[in-house]
Amino acid sequence: MIAVLDELVKKGKNPKATVLEAMKDSGRKAVGCFPIYVPEEIIYAAGLLPVGVWGGKTDIKLADKYLQSFCCSIMRANMEFGMKGTYDMLSAVVITAYCDTLRAVMVNWPYAVPNVKVVPFVYPQNRQGDSAFRYTLEIFDKFQSEMESISGKKVTAERLEEAFDLYEQWRALSQEFTTLAATHPVTINAKVRHYALRASYYMDKKTYTEKLMEVNQALKSMPDEQVKFKVVVTGLLAEPEGFLDLFVANNISFVADDLAQESRQFRTPTRPEGTVYEKMAWRIMDLRGDTFFYEENKSRGRMLIDMVKESSADAVVVCLYKFCDPEEFDYPVYKKELEAAGIPILYLEIEQQMDSMEQLRTRIQTFTEIL
């Protein structure tokens, strides 16, 4: 394996150690970012270290005090980690509100985890008119003030430009990496792909970007590889680890993804004109096929069909995180469109805390037989 790739995978697998190391190396205070689309550029420009807060494997005990069992496993895990002190090294968490669960977690947080400040960040859902664009610029300004008060440093125009450029570079390299992963599915199997991308949530973006560039360079010099099956994967995220092992064991590669934790973060280009905040706002206005934003005549089904064609994939794998309302509401709509296009679908219901993979193993094996 490429040494630097191995390093990224290890970091992706060890969030806490990686964050602590990044804090130490960069001298920055860390701010946790709940899923998804937190404007990390602003956090970074304020001299802080934005890190991902995406739950993880843990026993749910304390979170039961706030959330019923029919709550998304990522949010229950985030609440559990917050309550048991795992996030104590964070100077704040930024909580978004794309669904009713996130909204509720946001307002519970000050009661459940009083020692970690919460900063709400809520994008507009109605992105059709000027009012949403103007509102987005206003909330960026407000968010900037919040971050400045945490770091004690001003977000200057220069720092903001620098942070924006760094994130643009990270987006471009991440996209390049996923393209290279499709042509190198042995080296970059489903698991390696996931953890290499996930490492970006816990490292200083500058360090991560440098390392990812090295990985891409190494991949470019390697001959193309083949595995038996190619799929496009869609959903919130593809975890836990045992779940990814099943794809590796069955010779299935992820040739493209529509995962909230992965490509949705970096696939939408911004417009060339305007200030940094205007460019950042345009990216949000231009996001398409994303269940977490309202979209007239939702395009996710058509987008998935195009992704399958472009990547010559055999099928679409749906990673449906149980109790994720937005994803669950999209599924019947794109399912119908994929079926009409004759594209096979493998629907898998997953949770972060799942112990047994046996049922999923059988379903994935059976699916490869059909393919």
């Binding site: 019923q68 009713d100 307002v107 994008y123 309202y294 005549n297 309302d325 937005p326 119908k336």
Partner: protein
């Protein structure tokens, strides 16, 4: 001589007329809008659209026990059984287009305001895609402050103005600002009567059984902007006032022994059985979070005020605000206990209940119980569990009375 109908008889008549009028409007070529229950209906009424409310329709289907066929259809279409049952029923109705309970015409326009929940955005987005018709969305972002921030007011106001332009394009005519003001006036008056009427339940004994409020929820949704709605709630208020004057409590054959707060939408398929368990034990539900959900008050003609009112519901605000509101209700309505419906359809409300219940106990000494259920999916509710929980609450309330704590 024409017999004067009671407000309850009148509301049933009005609801029957409401569904019929929507069908008639469709046949006459008038545009039909499907709207969320706290959508700023003022702009639609002013434009002369016929409006129907899918949540109300789904609740009617649930109450008349016709939900299972729709829930089954939604599941076979790929909807998760963990999704909101109103959404599942309505999305399946959009395919089947017939229920023995009540029928609504195919929409020309879908209208969604996210002030009740974010789930409606996904649900209504799917409706618009299914019917291939335009959708108007009024998005009301949430925050953690008690009050709505000025930039949120500007965003909501901006969307209202954009929606008016969109409506003009759809209807092919100019927006009638005079009629708009008229609808605003009626809406404010109806909301005021609704609040005044539900406030009368503060009287001890309460002049009404609070479950009646659930019956009046359909008209406050459907008729807030029309004259017959205004008159209905004024009449209800006057009837309740009269009952107080006459010294009448909620029941003629039973004394109001305990007063409780109810959190969450009722279980429509079990409305009667859940009510009977309470009545049997002399428990009257006197308040919930609903009365204030429709008390949308603002100055007539003030678009900023309207934006602020529609964007300041319980779900847009902090937990502290929610806690204070429930504690205030508990105190003003003099409740002995609280019943929390852990409603599988309503994650936004559910995931705040535990802390609210704790604070209610801590700040006001009000005991509470939880029961599992669903607003319209009959499979999520067990009458035995409900009875046991009510029994437990009864014991806690009785013990408080004995100790002189309440």
């Amino acid at each position: 001589m024409t017999k004067i109908l009671s407000s309850k008889q009148r509301l049933n008549q009005l609801l029957a007329e409401h569904y019929q009028e929507a069908q008639d409007a469709k046949e006459a070529g008038r545009p039909v809008a499907w709207a969320t229950s706290i959508f700023p209906q003022e702009i639609l009424e002013a434009m002369g659209f016929a409006i129907v409310y899918p949540e109300n329709h789904a609740a009617a289907i649930g109450a008349r026990k016709d939900a299972p066929q729709f829930l089954k259809k939604a599941e076979s279409d790929g909807y998760s059984i963990d999704n909101c049952s109103y959404a599942r029923i309505n999305l399946a109705y959009a395919e089947l287009l017939h229920s023995d309970a009540a029928n609504i015409p195919v929409p020309d326009l879908i209208c969604c305001c996210s002030n009740i929940c974010l789930t409606t955005i996904k649900w209504y987005e799917n409706l618009a895609k299914h019917f291939n018709c335009p959708m108007i969305i009024i998005d009301t972002p949430s925050g953690m402050t008690d009050d709505i921030s000025e930039e949120r007011v500007r965003y909501i106001r901006g969307q209202l103005e954009e929606a008016i332009v969109q409506l003009e394009e759809i209807a092919g005519k100019k927006f009638d600002y005079d009629k708009f003001k008229d609808v605003m006036r009626i809406s404010n008056e109806t909301a005021t009567w609704w609040l005044k009427a539900t406030d009368l339940l503060k009287h001890k004994p309460s002049p009404a059984m609070g479950f009646d409020m659930f019956n009046y929820m359909a008209p406050i949704v459907c008729f807030r902007g029309i004259e017959s709605g205004r008159l209905l709630f004024k009449q209800w208020y006057e009837e309740l006032e009269k009952r107080i004057e006459n010294g009448q409590g909620p029941w003629d054959d039973k004394e109001e022994k305990f007063r409780v707060l109810w959190d969450g939408i009722p279980c429509w398929p079990y409305l009667s059985s859940t009510y009977k368990v309470l009545k049997k034990n002399g428990i009257n539900m006197v308040t919930s979070t609903y009365p204030e959900s429709w008390s949308l008050l603002y100055d007539v003609g003030d678009l900023d005020g309207m934006a602020r009112a529609y964007g300041s519901l319980l779900v847009q605000r902090s937990m502290d605000h929610g806690v204070r509101r429930l504690c205030r209700l508990a105190s003003e309505f003099n409740v002995d206990g609280a019943i929390f419906h852990s409603n599988r359809s309503c994650k936004g409300m559910d995931f705040k209940q535990f802390e609210i219940a704790r604070q209610l106990k801590l700040q006001y000494g009000v005991p509470s119980v939880f029961f599992d259920g669903d607003q319209t999916d009959p499979s999520a509710f067990s009458i035995a569990q409900y009875e046991t929980r009510v029994q437990a609450l009864l014991e806690m309330m009785a013990s408080n009375v004995e100790k002189g704590d309440r």
